[in-house]
Each structure stands twice: as structure tokens, then as C-alpha cells.
């Protein structure tokens, strides 16, 4: 019966179409990714600009690579990458469990790698990890194909990175946000000065407050980076407004609850707002996100943390004025560049921090404040301003 077969063919086609349309986001994203490294195709359009050029404050775009360059390679920049000139640098990136376009650490790191493709002519490729058990396997793909540099993103992939580094001694590993307890020669952890990021957030809050009281809602003080955010915030606020009142609350729940308690973050924010705080800095995973949501409820200005939370927590956009960001894109690029020049050592390298763009809340920041923030940012970068934060 031929008509039956016809019906079946049509039905199969329909199935196929259904499958195609349901999977639309994934395949359509493919051409945008640099398949087979065609540098001309990778339009710089939105990619590095979003992360790397905050409206006013920290603008790594304008800061030369030398300033951004990690401490480990002070003399690196002038030498015009002899290695890259002779041999094409091959750079691979392995994501944390998460997508390459996560608007967070994975994407920022990949934008740094893409910049290396454009500016250094590097051959680049990424692998998305879907299951933690594939971390090692994904790293192996690059290592066994003789890649020069492998960037791994996020704390969770840190251990697999360490193990791979021992196995593949000729490969340079860059671990984004992976603090190195002890230095391994071919692993460089890209870490960040949280106190400087906090300082910028504090200065912004100090310049914006009408009431003279601001708040910070933080994760547990058992984790040093959180304390650095908090103390930096306080110092930054006092630097622009010495008599400012800074309400600070660390989550009392320790490591167990410190970063996963949005309700506490929200409740604490409400209390601070009742005590006249009119700018809130939320830093501490979901607890910090809770603070931003609390600020949204009371229509109070808020400052996010780590990445541009305009992108990662869109519901708080109405009140989110900026975020204290770790600038992963330039950090990764500089490390790749320095690696190509052979001037990077194992251990930790500190990347730049900065404020995220003000986006739609740009009008809420007066021009004078923007100028002041730029000065502070420059001062923090060139060392003329110190946060004064020391950990006991």
C-alpha cells in the first residue's frame, strides 16, 4: 500500500521538523561560534565590549595590556611575542558544567580566548562539559592534540586541572578562579582582588547615598574573599564620604548556610533599609542575590558582585546600578599572551576588577560621581590608592 508509506514519510518529516525547531537555540548558535577557527567570522560586535568596557569606572579597554598584565609578567609586554609569530598558538577552553554563553564566568573566559584569536592569531576551540565526570576527558582532548594552552573555568574543575597538569607537563594551564594552594609549575590560577572590587562598590555607594547610610549583605566571614569584599566596601565608602554609616552583616550560618540563604539576605536587607540604608551591596552567592531581591522589593539601589548581574539576575534590573566585577576576559587574554611569550610561572596571578556598566540606571549616577570613580579605579590600578584591607 504505497499511500501508507507516503503518510509515514510525511509523519517522519514532521517528527524531524519538530525535533529541529525544538532544538533551535543550540544549532543556530553553532555558526556564531568560531567553527574551525575562521578569525574573520568572529565579529567582535558584542562579545568583549560588554564585559570589558564598563560605562564609567574600570575600563580595561582603555587600560593597556601592560597595566592589566598579571604581576608575574611585568616585563613581558614590550617583547612582541616571538613565539606567537613563529608558531601559531593553540588555545583550548573547557567550561565548568555550563554553557559557553552563560553570561558569566564561562562566557567571559571564552571572550578572553577569542581576543587571543583575533589579536595573537591563536587557534582556538572550546569544549562544553555536561557532566563533571568528563572534566578530565575534555582536558585530555586538548592535551593529546598538543594544544599549548588549556583554559579551565571555575573552581569545580580545579582538581581535574591539577591532575592534568601533572600528566601533561608541556601544556600551560590557566585556571580561572582557581586559587592555587601550592604552586605547580605549569598551572596558573587567575584570581582577583576582592577588596579592590569591594572598594569600588563602596565608593559608588558612598557617592550615591542620600541618607548617609549604606548596607552590605555578605556571605560567611569564614571565607577570606567575602571578608575582603566587605572590608573593601567599607573602606571605599569612607574614602568618598568619611562620616558615612556602613551597615555590614555577614551570614552567621558559616560555610553550611552562608552562600545559600536568600531569605536571610532579603530579611537583612529589609532591616538595613529600615535603618535608612539607601544603597545595598549583596555579595555571597544566593545570599547576596537575596539581598538584591530585597532591595528590589523596597525599590532601593543595589550593587551586585562577581559578574555583571544585570545579565545573570535580570529581575533586579530596575534597582541594580552596577556590579563589583572580576574582569575575567582581560585576565584570561593577558595570561594567554604572556604564556605565548613564555613569561608566566605557576601559582596565582591576580586579575583586574572593575564596576559593571550602569546600563539603564546610568542617569542615577551623576557625572561628577562617574569622574570620581574613574579616578579611584585608576588609583587602584596604579597603586596610588590602597584599600588598606589586611586579613588577620
Amino acid at each position: 500500500m504505497p499511500h501508507l508509506r507516503l503518510v509515514a514519510s510525511v509523519a517522519l518529516l514532521a517528527l524531524l521538523l519538530a525535533a529541529c525547531s525544538s532544538s533551535a537555540p543550540a544549532p543556530t548558535a553553532a555558526p556564531a561560534k568560531p567553527a574551525e577557527t575562521k578569525p574573520a567570522e568572529t565579529k567582535p560586535a558584542a562579545s568583549p565590549a560588554t564585559a570589558a568596557s564598563p560605562a564609567a569606572a574600570a575600563s580595561p579597554a582603555s587600560s593597556p595590556a601592560a597595566a592589566a598584565s598579571p604581576a608575574a609578567s611585568p616585563a613581558a609586554s614590550p617583547a612582541a611575542s616571538p613565539v606567537a609569530a613563529t608558531k601559531r598558538l593553540r588555545v583550548g577552553l573547557v567550561t565548568d558544567v555550563g554553557k559557553i554563553d552563560d553570561k558569566s564566568f564561562n562566557q567571559s573566559a571564552w571572550e578572553g580566548v577569542q581576543r587571543a584569536q583575533r589579536e595573537l592569531g591563536a587557534e582556538t576551540k572550546f569544549l562544553e562539559t555536561t557532566d563533571p565526570k568528563d572534566y578530565a576527558k575534555n582536558i585530555d582532548q586538548f592535551a593529546q592534540d598538543n594544544y599549548d594552552i588549556i583554559v579551565t573555568v571555575g573552581f569545580a574543575i580545579g582538581q581535574a586541572t591539577q591532575e592534568a597538569a601533572l600528566k601533561y607537563k608541556n601544556v600551560r594551564f590557566i585556571g580561572v578562579d582557581q586559587f592555587q594552594e601550592k604552586a605547580t609549575e605549569n598551572v596558573t590560577g587567575l584570581i582577583f582582588d576582592e577588596d579592590k572590587a569591594g572598594y569600588l562598590a563602596g565608593a559608588l555607594a558612598g557617592l550615591l547615598t542620600q541618607s548617609g547610610t549604606i548596607g552590605a549583605v555578605l556571605g560567611t566571614d569564614l571565607v577570606p574573599p567575602v571578608v575582603k569584599f566587605g572590608k573593601g566596601y567599607e573602606a571605599g565608602a569612607k574614602s568618598v564620604k568619611p562620616d558615612i554609616k556602613v551597615l555590614m552583616a555577614y551570614h552567621p550560618g558559616g560555610l553550611a548556610r552562608g552562600f545559600t540563604d536568600p531569605d536571610w539576605g532579603k530579611a537583612t536587607t529589609t532591616q538595613m533599609i529600615q535603618q535608612q540604608a539607601d544603597v545595598i551591596f549583596g555579595a555571597g552567592g544566593n545570599t547576596g542575590n537575596g539581598a538584591l531581591l530585597g532591595a528590589l522589593e523596597r525599590n532601593t539601589l543595589a550593587i551586585g558582585v562577581d559578574t555583571d548581574q544585570w545579565e545573570t539576575l535580570p529581575q533586579v534590573r530596575p534597582v541594580l546600578v552596577s556590579s563589583a566585577m572580576k574582569l575575567i576576559t582581560p585576565g584570561v587574554f593577558d595570561l594567554i599572551k604572556a604564556s605565548g611569550e613564555g613569561t608566566v610561572r605557576g601559582g596565582n596571578v591576580t586579575g583586574l576588577v572593575g564596576l559593571a556598566p550602569f546600563h539603564d540606571n546610568d542617569s542615577k549616577v551623576p557625572p561628577a560621581a562617574k569622574e570620581r570613580l574613574q579616578q579611584i579605579d585608576a588609583g587602584l590600578k596604579n597603586g596610588s590608592i590602597r584599600t588598606g584591607v589586611t586579613l588577620p
Partner: protein, 368 residues
């Protein structure tokens, strides 16, 4: 009713899988990729080298166990959507026993951890079974809801009570399980471990249970025809609870062997999707314990090869999910395959073996 021959069933399932792969190739081609390059990578990453074969087996092991879990429930007329949640509580419990119980030597510690994982899965699925037997609450609904409770509860414990207390660990994950609770690898330098043999053994065990034991007869009878089962004096309520608990045991073990044999810790990202993929594995395997094995190997190969495919062709790894989805569709609607390839002269009505499986449609009735 005439039952299709084994050869014909195998042929239809194989054609469904091949058609799924062909559709995937068309999809890759339509989105501007090179299907030959992509599938070359898929082959190389799944079967092309000894290490690849090992990775395929590593991925297949939980698929076998979870596929058995779903298949066993199918045979009992129950649709266990909750394998995902049962897997995660099994993994968490095994990890907890693995790192917190001190001073028990291998292999006693390992067995303890495996048993704990199995028990956790059994308890969760058994709860859904009990709700069905006791109140008539449909197991599709309860297992879906219990998935949320299990996954979010696991996440809560992972970022709280059971989190690695080291200050250098900033993400939610358990400490590593002790050496005494780990499943050893089959070969040095390869990750495939003894859990694979356990899974194969359990597949044979499930076959024996279903087709050679009194309990299996009761399970299948309840699945086929609850009224007849009651008439024969089989306790429907007891059988439903037991079937779900057995199903949960297998799913819990799937989680446990992942922790004890591959990862050595548990974290929220791990095990995502196995529980749902296993429904497809069970259907592709015709809910037969021995049929689940090749189905799991196919899905394991797809997953293991996906990395290499992505590496050589930069095709998004999501394509593999689409291929799996198409295979599932074709398996569920196998008349499409039969007609397209002109197999079997039976009319398009409900096929005999589908009626025999007594799966999806009828389980919406009460199992009273």
C-alpha cells in the same frame, strides 16, 4: 494475537536507532556542520580506541542500571518517572556513607555504601508505590513531584550539612569517599570499573526475577491485568509497592556506582539527565532486562563520543540529545518504523507486544 518474532523486534529497534542517527546527520548538515566529520568524531570517541570503549562502558553502566529500573516498573504496569530523583538520593547516600564511616575495611565499606545508596532509592520509589497502593495517587505524578523533592533536597544537603568543609572548596560538593569504599577499576589507566559487571549481573538477575520467579510472575500479572491478578489471589497493593521499591533500588544503585566507581564525590551537576534518558533506554530495550543492555550501550556510546564529536567538529553537544529524542520518538511510535521500512504485515492497531507490556496508556487507571 500474533507476537512478532525476536528477530523482527530487534530489526525494528535497530532501524529506529539508525533512523535517529540519520536524522541527526541531516540536522547537523542543515545547521551548516559536516555530518561525516561529526560522526567520525562520535565513532572515534565511543569505540575507536580502547580508552574510548572504556568511556562508553563508564557511561553505559548507570544507563544499564537506571534502564533496568524503569523497565522493571514498566513490566509491573508502572511508569517510574522518578529514576532521576532516586538516582540522586542513591548517589548522595552512598557518598555520605563513603566519606563519613571510618575504620571499616574494603570491601565491607564498599558494600555498605552500595547498600545505603540502593536503600535510599528504594525508599523514595517505594514511597511513590505506597502512595499509589494506599491512595490511588498516580505514580507518574508522585514520582515527578518526588524528583523535585529529591533533587532540591540533595542540593540543600550538598551545599549545607554534607558539604566538604575545607575552606578551599567553594562549591557544593561532598568530601571524597574513602579508598575503602571505592569500586576498583577493571584495568589500570582506564576508568571502566567493576560496577559494569555488577550492572550486567543485575540485568541477568532481573531477567530471572521477571521470567523465572513467582514474584516476577506476580509483577507481570499485575502489570498486564490487575483484575486477573486479584482474581488469582495476588496482592496488588503489596506488588505495586514492591515493584516500585525494586525499581528504586536499581536506580539508587545507578547513582551509587557513579559516586563510588567514577567520581568519588557527589555534586549537584552530576547525574543530570540519566534518570530521564533511562526511560528512553528502557523503551528501546523493550523493557526487557537483556534488551536494556544494548540500548544502554548505544546511549553510552552516544554520550561518550559526544566529547570527541564536539572537539573535532565544534558541533554543539546538544545534537546528541536531539538524536536521543528522535530515537525515543521512533521507538515509542514504532509503527512509523514498521511502515516506513515495510516490516511486518500487521495492521496499524496497537501491536501485540505493546499490549503485552501494558505500559503508558492504561496505567492512568487505578491499580486497585
Amino acid at each position: 494475537m500474533e507476537r512478532p518474532s525476536l528477530a523482527q523486534t530487534l530489526l525494528v529497534q535497530a532501524l529506529a536507532a539508525l533512523t535517529g542517527l540519520a536524522a541527526g546527520a541531516i540536522l547537523i548538515w542543515l545547521t551548516g556542520g559536516d555530518p561525516i566529520l561529526a560522526y567520525g568524531g562520535l565513532w572515534e570517541g565511543s569505540l575507536g580506541r580502547p580508552a574510548s570503549i572504556s568511556e562508553t562502558l563508564v557511561w553505559s553502566t548507570p544507563y544499564i542500571l537506571a534502564g533496568l529500573a524503569v523497565g522493571l516498573a514498566f513490566r509491573g504496569g508502572l511508569f517510574n518517572i522518578g529514576a532521576e530523583g532516586q538516582l540522586s538520593v542513591g548517589a548522595l547516600t552512598a557518598a555520605w556513607v563513603g566519606f563519613s564511616v571510618q575504620g571499616v575495611p574494603w570491601p565491607a565499606h564498599l558494600l555498605l555504601a552500595l547498600a545505603a545508596g540502593a536503600l535510599a532509592g528504594a525508599a523514595l520509589a517505594g514511597l511513590a508505590g505506597w502512595l499509589k497502593a494506599r491512595t490511588g495517587a498516580h505514580e507518574v505524578i508522585t514520582t515527578i513531584m518526588l524528583n523535585y523533592i529529591a533533587l532540591l533536597g540533595t542540593g540543600y544537603l550538598l551545599s549545607g550539612l554534607l558539604k566538604d568543609p575545607s575552606p578551599f572548596v567553594v562549591v557544593a560538593q561532598t568530601p571524597k569517599v574513602l579508598e575503602s569504599a571505592r569500586i576498583p577499576a577493571l584495568f589500570s589507566d582506564l576508568r571502566v570499573h567493576w560496577g559494569l559487571l555488577l550492572a550486567l549481573l543485575l540485568a541477568v538477575g532481573c531477567w530471572w526475577l521477571l521470567f523465572r520467579s513467582t514474584l516476577g510472575f506476580a509483577i507481570r500479572t499485575v502489570g498486564l491485568n490487575p483484575s486477573a491478578a486479584r482474581y488469582a489471589g495476588i496482592s496488588i497493593a503489596g506488588t505495586v509497592v514492591l515493584t516500585m521499591a525494586l525499581s528504586g533500588t536499581l536506580a539508587g544503585l545507578a547513582g551509587a556506582i557513579e559516586v563510588l566507581g567514577v567520581n568519588y564525590y557527589h555534586t549537584p551537576g552530576f547525574s543530570v539527565g540519566y534518570g530521564f534518558d533511562s526511560i528512553a533506554v528502557a523503551l528501546l530495550g523493550k523493557s526487557h532486562p537483556l534488551g536494556v543492555i544494548p540500548a544502554a550501550l548505544l546511549f553510552g556510546a552516544l554520550r561518550a563520543g559526544a566529547t570527541r564529536m564536539q572537539f573535532v567538529s565544534q558541533i554543539p553537544i546538544d545534537v546528541i540529545s536531539v538524536v536521543q529524542g528522535i530515537i525515543l520518538l521512533l521507538v515509542a511510535a514504532d509503527d512509523l518504523v514498521r511502515r516506513f521500512y515495510r516490516i511486518g504485515g500487521r495492521p496499524a492497531a496497537v501491536s501485540a507486544e505493546r499490549a503485552a507490556e501494558g505500559t503508558v496508556a492504561r496505567t492512568w487507571g487505578r491499580a486497585d
